[in-house]
Amino acid sequence: MDRKQLCGLIEEALTTIPEKKIEVSFESKDNIRILVISNFFKGMNLSSRIDFLTEHLIDLITKDSLSDFHFIYNALTVNEAAFKVSETTEDDLANTAELTKIASEDRPRA
């Protein structure tokens, strides 16, 4: 299975996640890293995000043709990917909203 086919299968397995960006990379000869970026993950803790991805990727991971590979994956929100903030809890989300507001107020007016 080549990289393009693999990416297609991953996309297919994760169709239920709305408005997402998926990045797939080979970290070594047998490690496949999958990064999913979507605001669907807002307010979810990291373990719940991993559980969600596992639920949708497990049939792919256990395919005979991929059984020698190791899947490393991570799920981030758009703000987490762009600004290295955390949005895993309601408190985090309130902080991010406040930071976004401050940033927009500081922006010089044209």
């Binding site: 490690n31 990291l46 373990s47 719940s48 991993i50 596992t54 639920e55 256990t62 059984s67």
Partner: protein
């Protein structure tokens, strides 16, 4: 004492420390000891099956690398975990959630997530101990 038994006893001590840490809500200490316990029980299983686990500082603490150790040409623990549908989600959760590079980073983890992560570590630990060490 052989290497399998040595590693099994060390692993059980680390798991006990993890249990004490979660009871005291010391979650960072809990994860680190869970990881160490699992690393040791995986190494015990590899020794028992006639293999040699990685011992160098980086690879020796990397659960993924330990699972890749080949015995008779097959990635021993990786294949066993992959073929056990009840254990695979627990394994995927724990190695995707934490690695030893995070041990100097204070994680503000909530109690519910900690419970689920601890159950994952303990589940994989007990499965390996019962099936490949005892």
């Amino acid at each position: 004492m052989n290497k399998t038994e040595n590693h099994r006893l060390l692993a059980l001590e680390k798991l006990r420390l993890a249990e004490m840490a979660i009871d005291e809500e010391l979650y960072n200490a809990c994860i680190e000891n869970c990881h160490f316990a699992l690393e040791l029980i995986m190494k015990a299983a590899i020794y028992k099956a006639g293999g040699t686990p990685p011992m160098s500082s980086k690879k020796g603490h990397d659960l993924l690398e330990i699972s890749k150790v080949k015995i008779h040409g097959v990635k021993f623990l990786h294949k066993k975990i992959l073929s056990t549908r009840t254990v695979l989600p627990l394994w995927l959760k724990l190695y995707n959630r934490w690695d030893t590079d995070q041990r100097y980073q204070y994680l503000n983890i909530d109690p519910l997530e900690m419970d689920s992560l601890f159950d994952a570590y303990r589940g994989v630990f007990k499965w390996i101990e019962n099936n490949y060490v005892d």
